[in-house]
Symmetry: C2
């Protein structure tokens, strides 16, 4: 087990009707003036925004709002939020929405006290040193951004999509009512489930041995999502399924299931280029890339036993002791079968991605300082391109 | 899933040699004068105390110390610590040791700012409102006290053993080096493993249905402990086994594996009277009580399917679909077999407890306001006595 530091200071308030507690919770945190940050009109039409602002008003907490967050949240809106937040002197940013609203809120929160261009923090030109506290009223089970240290922002002008992982990115409050996710279109529910599984899987596929506790926690989350997603796809108003998905989404990406090992995250990095180029949903992109990434390891014979463990423990494949690679393949096929079952694409074509873009996509994948991406195997240009080719079937 | 609030603000610094970071971590938390609280001479003989005080000295952090914490930590030492802490004006309490040092430290931390008798907070006469921050350099994988909201104190004069669960009991820092647990005697290692399993099992045995994620997280922790304890009993210096036990111990009792459901905790309440009356190790007492508690539910036919789930998912018993109670029984037997294998007692006799004390033990078990104990079934006097009788075989 590798040495680690772990601290998730987020207060989670979870369950039926908890959005009505927003005012009380923010007051306990000392908020005086809140910037409410959200996406489109759905949170207004659903009445959620009214509930939240009523709750703030009841506690005498002032608020301004900024809507318009899009999936793959844009730098341009972050600049707008920073300016608004400074002008209004806000002391808390409350995202009402999903991971996009949260990531955008995190960037605004770091940007307000930073004197330069906030993008410096994302490109590594400067290190975060201060932030305005962030909280959320979550409406989507997917990204885990409600307590993760991560925020991904896309620059429209350069089509760069960049994530920043930093302890200051961890929100202080997450208000989570599973009922708010019941009205999601099935495709978004499936994208969310795929993303949650991928977050646990990025941590599961490791070469660290004997981090048994983390392995089993990952398996717990992945197995929960498989079961709950199947229920939620058929019965969108099933509270228990929505609740299990929502909590699984949180712990899949706040490192509860990742301690003591290096996460891989090549699939996330590779996928980011798909969603940046074609503006497709992140979960759908992962459904295309993650199985291809697994097939690449099978092809190159890397750590077959871990792929087999995934097949046996998650998909209940029978272990083929004479030919573990065959078991590994059946695990990948079971995973692909599940993705198809919940309506996800598993090929580049289904996603609308073009074969001729593969060299450019490969070139764009953001590398680690050594020029590779990932930890399970460090992937160079040829490996990344091969993964796109496997996905382009 | 029941509504819940969950917040573990503890910063975990985990791995090889992290005790050398104690000074830097405390400095980052703003500590100026620390009360170091510990048990016997082992932390001095091992050199750990020297490492810790050197680390504090290097950062210019003043410190005083108070040793003498015993298993089942005593109120009398808490009074002493409160007086010392006030006199010296300490602003941080650092437990160096296991759960006993931590629980005692938590009581001192709440007692210093409280004007009355700290015992009022434990008996419910007054509610905690403030505390001095607490941290630990942990030397034992067992109680989870390093991040739990719980602290159990024993009054020598009345032989009362009482736990207080409160958010203010959560430490802000846990420094966890698995190597520090390698020199534990096998009996203590086994007691710790038994306690960790019991913490997850107290949360596992619930009548809430469809809290799938929490079920699976509990199973992850219990399965980890079974595997790691077997390795650590045979090979005490196995770092990976020690690391898995240590982290499992933390998450088993800080509610990571308990959200969305009521924990039972009858076995803990019942056991507390055994360890208070005979001064036996808490883990050993749990090894006697928990299987008896399970046999009681089997006897009364309560939620057999949950007992069967425990048998199938934890102990890999084959499900007997015609007779789930038979599967349940095999699960209990497998659990007892494991406890015996690691050297735990499983009967009152082995523990040195007397049959004739059963009525008095029953009378002493601390009840909830409705006069019962537990949630899986609410146990009245007759039920508690029956559990002692089952254990007295």
């Amino acid at each position: 087990m590798l040495n680690f530091t772990f601290c998730v200071p987020t207060k989670f308030v979870f369950g039926h009707g908890v959005e009505k507690e927003t005012g009380r919770e923010l007051k306990a945190l000392g908020a005086k003036k809140v910037l409410i940050h959200y996406g489109g009109g759905s949170v207004i039409r659903s009445g959620l925004m009214q509930t939240v602002t009523d709750a703030l008003d009841a506690e005498g907490i002032a608020h301004v709002s900024l809507g318009g967050v899009k999936p793959n949240p844009r730098a341009s809106l972050v600049y707008e939020g920073i300016e608004l937040g400074r002008r209004e002197g806000v002391d808390f940013i409350l995202a009402v929405g999903g991971g996009s609203a949260l990531d955008s809120a995190k960037a605004i929160a770091l940007g307000i006290p930073y004197e330069g261009d906030f993008w410096d923090l994302w490109t590594g030109k400067a290190a975060p040193a201060a932030r305005i506290p962030v909280g959320s009223v979550l409406t989507l089970a997917a990204t885990g951004s409600e307590s993760s240290n991560s925020a991904v922002i896309t620059r429209e002008d350069t089509r760069e999509k960049v994530g920043l992982n930093h302890q200051l990115n961890r929100p202080v409050l997450a208000i989570m009512d599973p009922e708010l996710t019941m009205t999601l279109p099935p495709y978004q529910t499936a994208c969310g489930a795929t993303d949650i599984m991928a977050h646990a899987m990025e941590r599961y596929f490791t070469n660290e041995t004997e981090v048994d506790v983390t392995d089993r926690l990952c398996e717990a989350v992945i197995s929960t999502v498989i079961r709950a997603a199947r229920i939620a796809m058929k019965d969108p108003r099933n509270y228990e399924a929505r609740a299990n998905l929502m909590w699984a989404g949180t712990i899949a990406h706040n490192d509860t299931v990742g301690v003591g090992r290096l996460g891989d995250f090549a699939s996330h990095r590779i996928e980011h280029e798909l969603s940046a180029m074609y503006d497709v949903a992140h979960g759908a992109g992962l459904a295309v890339i993650f199985p291809a990434w697994m097939r690449y390891h099978l092809e190159t014979g890397h750590n077959i036993m871990r792929l087999a463990q995934f097949a046996v423990r998650i998909w209940h494949c029978e272990m083929n002791f004479e030919n573990p690679a065959e078991t590994a393949l059946r695990g990948i096929e079971a995973y692909e079968g599940f993705l198809k079952e919940i309506g996800m694409p598993i090929t580049m074509k289904e996603l609308g991605a073009r074969t001729e873009d593969i060299p450019e996509l490969t070139r764009r994948v953001r590398r680690s300082p050594d020029g590779t991406v990932g930890q399970f195997q460090k992937l160079d240009d040829a490996a990344i391109e091969r993964i796109f080719r496997i996905a382009d079937r």
